[in-house]
C-alpha cells in the first residue's frame, strides 16, 4: 500500500485493462479461511447472509410441517404439548428474526451499493460483524432447540408466562438473548444502509433518481433504527426480571404486565413493515423491468413508502384490542390501522397502472409479482377486517389471524423475495436460473399456499384458537385441518423445487450476460457477477433509468485512486461529489469482536457477571478494530 500523502495512482491515468487489474488487486478478498473470516466485500457478505437466511427458512419450514402433521387430526400424538409449544415458538421466532428481516437486509447489503453506484457499503467491517453476530444468534437458538431448551412461550413471549415465575429454566432467556443478537445485527445493517444511500450515491443520482428499491430500503432502515431499540429494551427487561429479580413486569411491585405488550408491539408492528417494505421495493424493480417502463407514479410510490413507514408506528395497539384498554382509545388504532391500507392501495394501483400500459414479458419474476398481488391484497383486506375492534374481539388469537398474517407475510414478502432471487440470481452468481422449473415453483407455491392457508380463515371463524397442540374430535375441525395439512406438502414441494433450482443453476445454469433482463438500474451496468470493486469507474447518472436512457455507454467520473480502496462521497440531496473516502481493507477484527460479543451474551444468560468480565475481550477486539491505520481518511 503506497503512502497516501503521495498523489498515488488515479483511475483517470489508466486504460481499462490495466485499471481493472489494479482495482482487482486492491479490492480483492484472499482465498482460504482467512479470506472468509476477514472479507469486508458487501457482495460476499450479502450472499452469505442470503444463503444463511434461506437455510433458516428451510429449518422453519420443517417445523411448520411438523405442526401441520400434529394438527392434521384431532388428538394426535405426533408432538407432545411441551414439544409443540417449543416448535411453534421456534417457527415464529425463527421466521421473523432469523429469516424475514435478515434476508431483506441481505438483499439490501448486496444490491444497494450496486444500485447507487458505489464501490462498497458504508462501514464494511460493521457489515461483517453483523453477519457473524446474526449467525451466532441463529446457531444459539437452534442448538437450544436441539437440547430441549428452545423457548416455549410463543414468538412474542408474553409475560407472566415467560416471566420468572412461570417460565421455568432458561428457555425464555434463550429467546430474549437471541433477540439481542439479531437486533444488534439488524441495527448495524440499517445504519450502513442509511449512510450508503444518503452519502455514497453516484454523482447525478438526485433523490428523484434513486431506484424505488433503494427508497424502500432507506425507509426500512429508518424503521429498524427507530423500532429495534424497543425490543432490545423489552428483552433486556425480561432477562433482568428473570435473572436478577427486577420487577418491570410484576404488578405486585408496581410493574405492569401490559408494559411488555406495549413495548413488544411498538416494535412488533413496525417489524412487519420492515419485512414488507423491502419486498415492495423488489416488486417495483421487477414490475419496471418486465413491463418495460418505469413504475407509474414515482412520487406517489415514494410518498406511499414514507407514509407507510410513519404510520407503521401508530398501529401497535391493534395487537392488544382485547386486553381491556378503553374502547375509544382502541378505536383510534382502528382508524390508523385501516388507514395504512391507503398507501398500500396507492402502490397496488400504481403497479396495476404500470402493468396496464407496459409491454409485458411473462418471465418467472413477473409471475411472482402476479402471485404477490393476488395474495397480498387478500391478506391486506383481512387486515382491514382485523383492524376493526369489534370484529377483532371474535377473531383475535384464532386461526383467522394466522391466515391473515401468513397471507401478508408469504404473499407480501416471500413471493416477491423468490421472484427477486430469480431476477438477481444472474447478477449474483453469473448464471441464469431455469425458466421451466421457475414456473413450476410459482405454481406450486401459489396453489399450495392458498390451499393451505385459506381454510384457516374458516377454522378461525369456527372457533379454533391459536397455539393449541391438539383439539377435540367433537369440534369438527378435523376435515379442514387435514385439508390444510395435506396442502402444506404442495407448498413444501414448491420450496424444495426452488432450492433444487438454485443448486442446479449454480452448477450448470447458462452463463448470464451483464444485463440479461434489459433492466434500467445501475447494478446491471457491470459484469455478472460484479468484480470486487463493483464498477471500474464511478458512473454518473442523468436520469432515473440510466441504462435505458443511455443505452450505448454510461458516463463515468474519474479521480478515485486505484492503489488504495477509495469510494466517492456525495451530497445528500443532489449527489454532488464531496470527498474521496478511504474504504476499509479486509480485517479479522469484526470476526473476533463478534466472537467475543457472542461469548459475553451467551454467558450473560446464566450469570449477570458475564457482562462485566465478558466486556474485557470485547474491548480488546474493539481496540484492535479501531486501531488507527495511519493513512488520512478523506481527501477533498
Amino acid at each position: 500500500m503506497s503512502d497516501s500523502r503521495q498523489p498515488g495512482v488515479s483511475d483517470a491515468q489508466l486504460e481499462r485493462p490495466e485499471l481493472e487489474s489494479h482495482l482487482a488487486a486492491t479490492w480483492r478478498t484472499p482465498g482460504g479461511l482467512w479470506g472468509v473470516l476477514s472479507t469486508v466485500d458487501h457482495k460476499i457478505i450479502g450472499r452469505r447472509y442470503i444463503v444463511t437466511a434461506f437455510v433458516f427458512l428451510a429449518l422453519g419450514g420443517v417445523l411448520a410441517l411438523l405442526m401441520r402433521l400434529q394438527l392434521a387430526g384431532s388428538e394426535r400424538r405426533v408432538l407432545s404439548a411441551d414439544w409443540y409449544n417449543q416448535v411453534f415458538t421456534m417457527h415464529g421466532a425463527n421466521m421473523m428474526f432469523l429469516f424475514a428481516v435478515p434476508v431483506m437486509e441481505a438483499m439490501a447489503i448486496y444490491l444497494v451499493p450496486l444500485m447507487v453506484g458505489t464501490r462498497n457499503i458504508a462501514f464494511p467491517r460493521l457489515n461483517a460483524f453483523s453477519y457473524w453476530l446474526y449467525l451466532a444468534g441463529g446457531i444459539m437458538l437452534w442448538t437450544a432447540f436441539a437440547l430441549n431448551m428452545a423457548p416455549d412461550v410463543g414468538w412474542f413471549a408474553y409475560v407472566p408466562l415467560s416471566g420468572p415465575q412461570f417460565g421455568a429454566g432458561k428457555r425464555a432467556d434463550i429467546w430474549a438473548q437471541m433477540i439481542t443478537f439479531t437486533e444488534i445485527a439488524a441495527l448495524a445493517v440499517a445504519i450502513e444502509i442509511v449512510v450508503t444511500v444518503l452519502k455514497q450515491r453516484a454523482p447525478g443520482m438526485t433523490l428523484q433518481r434513486i431506484p424505488l428499491f433503494v427508497w424502500s430500503m432507506l425507509v426500512t432502515a429508518f424503521l429498524v433504527i427507530l423500532a429495534m431499540p424497543t425490543i432490545m429494551i423489552a428483552s433486556t427487561c425480561l432477562i433482568l426480571d428473570r435473572l436478577v429479580g427486577t420487577h418491570f413486569f410484576n404488578p405486585s411491585e408496581g410493574g405492569d404486565v401490559l408494559l411488555w405488550q406495549h413495548l413488544f408491539w411498538f416494535f412488533g408492528h413496525p417489524e412487519v413493515y420492515i419485512i414488507f417494505l423491502p419486498a415492495v421495493g423488489m416488486v417495483s424493480s421487477l414490475v419496471a423491468t418486465f413491463a418495460g417502463r418505469p413504475v407509474f407514479g414515482y412520487l406517489a410510490m415514494v410518498l406511499a413508502l414514507i407514509s407507510t413507514g410513519v404510520l407503521a408506528f401508530g398501529l401497535w395497539v391493534h395487537h392488544m384490542f382485547v386486553v381491556g384498554l378503553p374502547r375509544v382509545g382502541e378505536s383510534f388504532f382502528t382508524i390508523s390501522s385501516m388507514s395504512i391500507a391507503i398507501p398500500a392501495g396507492v402502490q397496488i394501483f400504481c403497479w396495476l397502472a404500470t402493468l396496464w400500459d407496459g409491454r409485458l414479458r411473462f418471465r418467472v419474476p413477473l409471475l411472482f409479482v402476479i402471485a404477490f398481488i393476488i395474495t397480498f391484497v387478500m391478506g391486506g383486506l383481512t387486515g382491514v377486517m382485523v383492524a376493526s375492534v369489534p370484529l377483532d374481539t371474535q377473531v383475535h388469537d384464532t386461526y383467522f389471524v394466522v391466515a391473515h398474517f401468513h397471507y401478508v407475510l408469504i404473499g407480501g414478502a416471500v413471493f416477491p423475495l423468490i421472484g427477486a432471487i430469480y431476477y438477481w440470481f444472474p447478477k449474483m452468481s453469473g448464471r441464469l436460473m431455469s425458466e421451466r422449473i421457475g414456473r413450476w415453483v410459482v405454481g406450486l407455491l401459489f396453489v399450495g399456499f392458498n390451499l393451505t392457508f385459506f381454510p384457516m380463515h374458516v377454522l378461525g371463524l369456527l372457533g379454533m384458537p391459536r397455539r393449541i397442540y391438539t383439539y377435540s374430535p367433537e369440534m369438527h375441525w378435523d376435515a379442514l385441518n387435514l385439508f390444510s395439512s395435506v396442502s402444506a406438502t404442495i407448498l413444501a414441494a414448491g420450496f424444495l423445487l426452488f432450492f433444487i433450482d438454485v443448486i442446479r443453476s449454480l452448477r450448470r445454469g447458462p452463463q448470464a450476460p451483464e444485463n440479461p433482463w434489459g433492466a434500467s438500474t445501475l447494478e446491471w451496468a457491470t459484469t455478472s457477477p460484479p468484480p470486487g470493486y463493483n464498477f471500474p469507474r464511478v458512473p454518473v447518472v442523468g436520469s432515473a433509468q440510466p441504462l435505458w436512457d443511455e443505452p450505448e455507454s454510461l458516463a463515468v467520473a474519474c479521480g478515485l485512486r486505484v492503489d488504495r480502496r477509495e469510494l466517492l462521497i456525495t451530497s445528500v440531496v443532489s449527489a454532488q461529489p464531496q470527498a474521496r473516502e478511504a474504504s476499509p481493507r479486509n480485517s479479522i477484527w469484526p470476526f473476533f469482536a463478534a466472537l467475543a460479543s457472542t461469548l459475553m451474551l451467551i454467558a450473560s444468560i446464566f450469570t449477570p457477571w458475564a457482562m462485566v468480565w465478558g466486556s474485557v475481550p470485547v474491548l480488546i477486539t474493539l481496540i484492535g478494530w479501531f486501531w488507527p491505520k495511519g493513512d488520512p481518511e478523506d481527501e477533498g
Binding site: V257, V322, G324, A353, V377, S388, L391, P465
Partner: protein, 328 residues
C-alpha cells in the same frame, strides 16, 4: 339437582349442535354475537368485492393488447386518483361502521347478573356474586345463566394471561394478572355453548375449555339453589368410603367440598362436580368412569397440568369415583 340422564343425552345433542356451530363465530345466540356476525359478513362482502375488482383489473392488465408506451399518463393518473379516493371512502365507511358496532357492544345494565371468572392454569374458577354473602357460591368450568338477562363478567387471572371466549355469545376479553377487566353479554336462546381460553397460557392451553349453559329463568334458579346447597350426603358404604378417602388423602389439600372437611383452594371446587357436563375443563364428559380415569392418571390425559397422580389402589379408586360421581 341436574338431570341425571344428561350425560347420556348430551353426546347426541352435541353431535347435532356440531353441525350448526359448536363454538362458532358464525352461529350467534346472544345480542352481542349477532351484531358481530353481521359486522363480519359486511366486511367480508365489502372486502370480497374489492379483492375481486383488483384481481379482475390485474387479469385485464395482463391480457390486454398493448398500445405503445407513451410518456404521458394523465388519464391513468385520474383513474389511479379515483381509485385512491374510493379506497379512502371505503375505509372511512368501514371505520365508522366498526365504531358504531363497538358502541353497541358495551352495556351498563344495573340488573346484570354478576359473575367473577378467575383464570388458572388450566381451569376456570367461577364465582357467582351477590350483595348477600350467603348467596355467593363458587363453581368451576361451567357457567349457567338465565336467558334474556344481561350477564356481566368480572375477569381476573390467578397466574398468567388467559382469555375468555365463547364465540356463540360475544367476543373475547383477556384475563390479565393485576388488571380488572369486564365482559358482558345478553344471551337470546336457550342452549349450551362452548368456550375456550384464547390466549396462550402454557402447556395445557389447548385443554382449557368451558361451557356456558343458557336456560330458562326457572331452570336457572333451580340450578342456583342446587349450587348453594352443601354437597350431597354419600349414600351407601362405597360412597362413605369414598368421602373418607377424599378427606384423608391428598385430595382435600387442593379441593373444596362444601359440607365436609375438605377445603382446599388450589384446585377447582368439587362440591357439585357431577352436576357439570365435563370434568377437567372440558376434557372429558362427566360420568363415573371418566372421573375414575382422571383421578387415576391425570398426567396422561392432560400432561403438565397441576393435578398430581395420587396413589390409590383399585377399591379406593372405585369408592372415590362413586362418591364424586354422586356429587350432583
Amino acid at each position: 339437582m341436574a338431570n341425571r340422564t344428561l350425560p347420556l343425552t348430551l353426546p347426541i345433542a352435541l353431535l347435532c349442535s356440531g353441525c350448526t356451530g359448536w363454538q362458532s363465530v358464525l352461529d350467534p345466540h346472544a345480542i352481542q354475537a349477532s351484531r358481530l356476525e353481521q359486522l363480519i359478513w359486511l366486511f367480508v362482502a365489502v372486502c370480497g368485492v374489492v379483492w375481486v375488482t383488483v384481481t379482475v383489473v390485474l387479469v385485464m392488465a395482463l391480457l390486454r393488447r398493448k398500445t405503445p408506451y407513451s410518456h404521458t399518463d394523465t388519464r391513468m393518473t385520474r383513474i389511479v386518483r379515483a381509485a385512491v379516493i374510493a379506497t379512502v371512502v371505503i375505509i372511512t365507511g368501514l371505520a365508522i361502521v366498526s365504531f358504531y358496532a363497538t358502541r353497541g357492544l358495551s352495556s351498563s345494565d344495573a340488573t346484570a347478573l354478576e359473575i367473577r371468572v378467575r383464570g388458572y392454569q388450566w381451569w376456570w374458577e367461577v364465582t357467582y356474586l351477590d350483595a348477600r354473602a350467603d348467596q355467593v357460591f363458587i363453581t368451576a368450568n361451567e357457567i349457567h345463566v338465565p336467558v334474556g338477562r344481561t350477564v356481566s363478567l368480572q375477569l381476573a387471572a390467578a397466574d398468567v394471561i388467559h382469555s375468555f371466549w365463547v364465540p356463540n355469545l360475544t367476543g373475547k376479553q383477556d384475563l390479565i394478572p393485576g388488571r380488572d377487566n369486564t365482559l358482558s353479554f345478553t344471551p337470546r336462546e336457550i342452549g349450551v355453548y362452548r368456550g375456550q381460553c384464547a390466549e396462550f397460557c402454557g402447556l395445557q392451553h389447548a385443554h382449557m375449555a368451558l361451557l356456558v349453559v343458557v336456560e330458562s329463568a326457572g331452570a336457572f334458579e333451580h340450578w342456583r339453589q342446587g349450587q348453594l346447597a352443601p354437597a350431597a350426603t354419600p349414600r351407601g358404604g362405597e360412597q362413605e368410603t369414598g368421602k373418607h378417602l377424599f378427606e384423608s388423602k391428598a385430595c382435600a389439600s387442593c379441593h373444596n367440598i362444601q359440607g365436609g372437611t375438605a377445603s382446599g383452594t388450589v384446585g377447582p371446587d368439587l362440591t357439585h362436580v357431577a352436576s357439570r357436563r365435563y370434568i377437567a375443563s372440558g376434557l372429558l364428559e362427566t360420568n363415573r368412569g371418566s372421573i375414575a380415569a382422571w383421578v387415576a392418571d391425570p398426567q396422561t390425559l392432560k400432561p403438565g397440568n397441576n393435578m398430581p397422580r395420587v396413589a390409590l389402589d383399585a377399591s379406593e379408586l372405585n369408592a372415590l369415583s362413586a362418591y364424586l360421581a354422586a356429587l350432583q
